[in-house]
Amino acid sequence: MRVRLTLGLVDRPGTLLNVLEQIAIHGGNIISIIHNRDRITAGYVPVSINVEFPSIEQLEKAKIGIESIGVPVMEAETLEKKIETLLLIGSIDIDSTTEAIQMEGGKVVGLSLTGSPSSACLKLIVETPLEKRQRLIKSLETLAESQGSLLIREEES
């Protein structure tokens, strides 16, 4: 999995090297490093590192390792996202549906509604970080069941 780690580094020689060591120990493959020297905040230099980790467990271990050497991990954002079409058929509550998507870390990037109120068809284009997708689908399935509607997801290619 590919992630962007945003770290707050003290502007002191050797700090970045120690961070890279922690990433390497946990199997991370560094893709790029961006050093935002012009955005120093409270003595910290924000550094963005794009890393490929073999698994989410390795990422979590790396985060603990980095924090153990006194470097705060400000953000770990997944770079791999899935954009997919979902259909909901039947009786639909749009607000609770979009809310559920946001709650699970997804983003609605497209939406259209057709049909009658009792037999509506809601088409959603949803962007989700890859590791959160399964949970999002499960949550939408549960919601669809409680609404008496049917969720149709995309078949993997």
């Binding site: 057709t114 049909g115 068809c121 088409k123 149709i152 995309e154 078949e155």
Partner: protein, 325 residues
């Protein structure tokens, strides 16, 4: 000669006999044919060409339990083609068990016994040294079990998904191309004889679920039951949903899948250029394996194409028996 008994004289039984008249299987002698009312039997072999369409109208017809013929004294091979019963598996299950314990090889296209007791039947067959084949139970003429058995030795199947029911695929195809409602497409399928008079098993996804259980237990080596499958049918699919899919270059198909040990049957959005996106009454099965990776098979999933699977299974029995002599 392998002496065979055909149990079940419905669509498949009659189609098999028609095919055997056109092209006999070398080494196969049909000595018995039975339906629920009785049977005809001749140790010299039945003259298939002279058979009347109604079994009872043949002068050799005897009323009585056809299962009495399941004895090594009479037959070497049972071709079990009685109707599927997914609750009890009967009468097929008792027929198959009796044959196996008597040392009689079995070829079946009856999903009932296979979905309910495949692992038990395979174990019994191993213990009794008999051959048990059931290719016709899934995907009609698509040789999925034989292919994996004979052509993918050493590889490991990781997941399976597919369109496994011709009736629902026909309905969804008509909804996609003609804009029909579900009800209208179903009525059309019933008029054409594609859907049965009671289409519940098909449209509610149960038939697909049965096949998914058989695939999971036979190919992936699981021990699943029908109740382990998450099942959603196609009755709620509306023309609006199909239109919404079409706008994105997709359609809706009923997909059965086995992924990470989880079994499901549900309508899914599928791209029109996806290898599984077949139309009409066609079936498609996609397997993912460790070495080969991806393989998709497409073919007619029901009707006379099933005879191809049954005949291949019969050849398999004859080949095994000749090799062991």
């Amino acid at each position: 000669m392998i002496k065979a008994l055909i149990l079940g004289y419905g669509f498949l039984g009659k189609s098999l006999i028609k095919r055997l008249i056109i092209e006999p299987v070398p080494g196969l002698l049909i000595v018995g044919i039975a339906n629920s009312k009785g049977y005809i039997y001749s140790s010299e072999g039945i003259k298939l060409k002279d058979l009347k369409d109604k079994l009872e109208e043949n002068k050799e017809f005897e009323t009585g339990r056809a299962s009495d013929l399941i004895s090594k004294d009479y037959v070497d091979l049972l071709i079990e083609l009685t109707p599927t019963n997914i609750i009890t598996g009967e009468p097929g299950l008792s027929h198959v068990k009796k044959a196996i314990t008597q040392g009689i090889d079995v070829v079946t296209a009856n999903k009932g016994p296979v979905v309910l007791a495949l692992n038990e039947l395979k174990k019994m067959a191993d213990e009794n040294g008999v051959i048990f084949r059931y290719e016709g139970t899934v995907g009609g003429g698509i040789p999925i079990f034989s292919l994996i058995d004979k052509c993918l030795r050493g590889d490991k199947v990781i997941s399976i998904r597919g369109i496994l029911n011709g009736t629902t695929n026909y309905i969804l195809t008509r909804m996609h191309f003609e804009g029909l409602t579900f009800e209208l497409a179903l009525r059309e399928a019933m008029m054409l004889g594609i859907a049965e008079r009671n289409p519940t098993l098909d449209v509610e996804g149960i038939d697909t679920a049965i096949k998914i259980v058989i695939l999971a237990n036979s190919i992936i080596g699981l021990n699943k039951k029908l109740s382990d499958v998450k099942i959603r049918g196609i009755t709620k699919i509306t023309p609006e949903a199909i239109s919404a899919a079409k706008e994105n270059g997709m359609t809706i198909k009923l997909i059965g899948s086995i992924e990470d040990g989880e079994l499901s049957v549900e309508p899914r959005l599928i791209r029109l250029n996806h290898p599984l996106c077949v139309h009409g009454t066609l079936n498609a099965i996609n397997i993912r394996t460790s070495i080969l990776k991806n393989l998709t098979l497409i073919g007619e999933g029901a009707g006379e194409s099933t005879i191809a699977s049954i005949i291949n299974d019969i050849y398999d029995v004859i080949t095994h028996k000749s090799a062991s002599i």
